[in-house]
Amino acid sequence: MKQFQPSEEVDFLVIGAGAAGGIMAKELSSAGFSVVVLEQGPYLREKDFEHDEIKYTRLDAMTNNLKRQPQTLRKSTAEPARVLSDKFLQYGRQVGGGSVHFTANYWRLWESDFQQKSRHGGVSGATLADWPITYADLEPYYTKAEEELGISGLAGANPFEAWRSKPYPLPPLPVKSSGVIFERATKQLGLHPFPAPMAILSQPYRGRGACLHCGFCEYFGCEVRAKSSTLATVIPIAEKTGRCEIRPNSYTRKIETGANGRVTGAVYFDANRREVFQKARAVILCANGNETPRLLLMSKSSRFPQGLANSNGLVGKNLMVDAGFEAFGLFEHPLNEFKSVQTTRAIHDFYEPDPKRGHYGGGGIDARFDFYPASFALFGLPPGAPRWGREWKAMVAKNFTRTLTLLAHATCLPQEKNSITLDPDVKDAWGLPATRITFDFHPDDMRNMKFLLDRQVEILEAARAQRIWTDTTDLSLLPHNHLLGTCRMGDDPKTSVVDRYHRAHDVPNLFMVDGSSLVTACCQPTCTIQALAYRAADHIAGAARHAAI
């Protein structure tokens, strides 16, 4: 791998080597530019990945850890923020980022997602807005992402999906028992189940082998490279160009701004906590919807006293997260859901908001199993079941192979008051301000989650589950893995942070390309984040060639 000197001015400094950063690295280095990618986490390889529930779900081996990077939370600015003992926001923290440990759901947005404000009008208390781009603008890049990364699915199987210029490059993964039960029940209800599109290879593809169905996808790294993470796909291509250096264990603390208002590079802590300044002609932030706004807010200068690219005060605002409750069903025969990928069937029948429901919101529902042995024993039994002892042990033994989950993937309304700010008191292990989260779901979000939960229960009833139960506690929603909207995209510099090509309105050579760009949030964001990254890279490379950055 090429190595650059920090004093060497590279064309692009990308911060964050995750779902978006990996694509920026590959696209820009392939286009002939020199690229350094700073990643706060380690560079783990497939040989490092293990089937170890404790390591990845309890000890945060691949995600942020509160002992190292604390978070504080308040529901509104009127109350003091408290230091959290359970993560509210979670993100991948190694080369490949969240694309390494994600469940691998890979849903395109609908055409209507880009015009929610025009279609549904405003929602009181929310900052619902149209995107500055349309589905048609993004479609070629959805197709490119699916092809380059390797996505398994069945075009046309979802009657509601938007038009596509090409089918999925790979057929769907084999259906599991949860999928068979879900498909039968939803069809009986007149709904339209379809094979879940997954960023996991159902067949060998571009030098990578197919999924072996070991069952360790969600929270885990794939040791056979069947999951189409950026670690397994585009990052090796970027490194082979000889123009891209992935620099792990490099935790950025500030983006520097010159007297002319252009950014000049970034200061980061290296593995030994020494401060290093990497010089660059342009900076692209792909650090996720939490770390991107946090870093901008930490990058104050005399020119940007409120934080970089934050002249309108919107950096960190409009935080949106994954929403949706779980319903559980117990069945007579073993499903053995611990085998293979987490989910194989989904529906989009309730995706589009409908005024008849009396609230804004919609979402998808999938059939899945998110448990591993210890988490099932801890949390998997129905309410009222014993928590320990002989009877508890017998129930865990019987239910583990017979339980499935229906999970809703629901809309989360943008609200200006939901935000990422810098905590004034709490510091992380490097002495930097901790993330302070101000968040409360919009009343319509809650109504919508309950509406979808009723649909989930109806499906389980149609499936004749022996027992059905739900979990509607706040805790059941934690941690949030979709960190969205905090540097929203828009044409108007007064109401957005980046333009339609992800360029900061305030700074000509600064770009934000990750979940923070999303204007609205429905369901599964990774596919859209990656399509946006391909589109942004296309534009940024073109602009750079014409010295327009």
Binding site: E53, V175, H213, C214, H333, N336, S340, G389, K393, F400
Partner: protein
């Protein structure tokens, strides 16, 4: 060494063992394991015996192995020595209170381990709404169902109980319902 091997072979060559003999053999084996003095990092052998007595009612040994046979106490010791080192004080205080509860409930008792199983269950019922119990339950479950590399889940007792297999590779059909169409 040689004698050992010969005697072990001779032992295995015996006629099929009765369940009682097997249970006794297993018991002896466990006593030996539990008595291994150097095996604990932070717990004294007395603390370990008392905590294990509680864990063994959270996941009891019945017709399948429980927390005791799975070596959960070794997991707990390792957790307190490593990733949950900051929870040692909660254990110390929790056990102090639990011992006080024991003396209230069973004034003439000598230790938790010496209580009868029904008494141990009563003691756990007395503490089951405490923060310490939640931690002990979590550790017991992690030790029983977690990866054996942490010292518990011996002989994959936890995974065998629930029908989980940690395999590199599975082939469809995975369960009853996805096999149905092929039946």
């Amino acid at each position: 060494m040689t004698d050992n091997r010969i005697s072990r072979r001779a032992w295995l060559a015996l006629a099929p063992l009765s369940a009682a003999v097997l249970a006794a053999q297993e018991h002896a084996h466990e006593v030996m394991r539990s008595a291994r003095p150097a095996a604990f990092s932070v717990l004294s052998s007395e603390e370990a015996r008392e905590i294990e007595a509680l864990a063994s009612q959270i996941i009891p040994s019945d017709d399948s192995p429980g927390a005791r046979e799975a070596g959960v106490i070794y997991f707990i010791d390792r957790a307190l020595a490593t990733f949950d080192a900051d929870k040692g004080a909660l254990y110390t205080e929790g056990m102090r209170r639990t011992q006080a509860n024991r003396l209230e409930l069973f004034p003439n008792s000598q230790s938790i381990a010496a209580l009868r199983p029904a008494e141990q269950i009563r003691l756990l019922q007395a503490i089951e709404n405490t923060e310490f119990f939640d931690l002990l339950r979590t550790h017991t479950i992690l030790g029983f169902f977690g990866n054996p590399s942490y010292g518990g889940n011996r002989d994959l007792a936890g995974w065998k109980l629930i029908g989980f297999e940690d395999r590199f590779h599975f082939e469809p059909p995975f369960g009853y319902y996805d096999a149905e169409p092929q039946r």
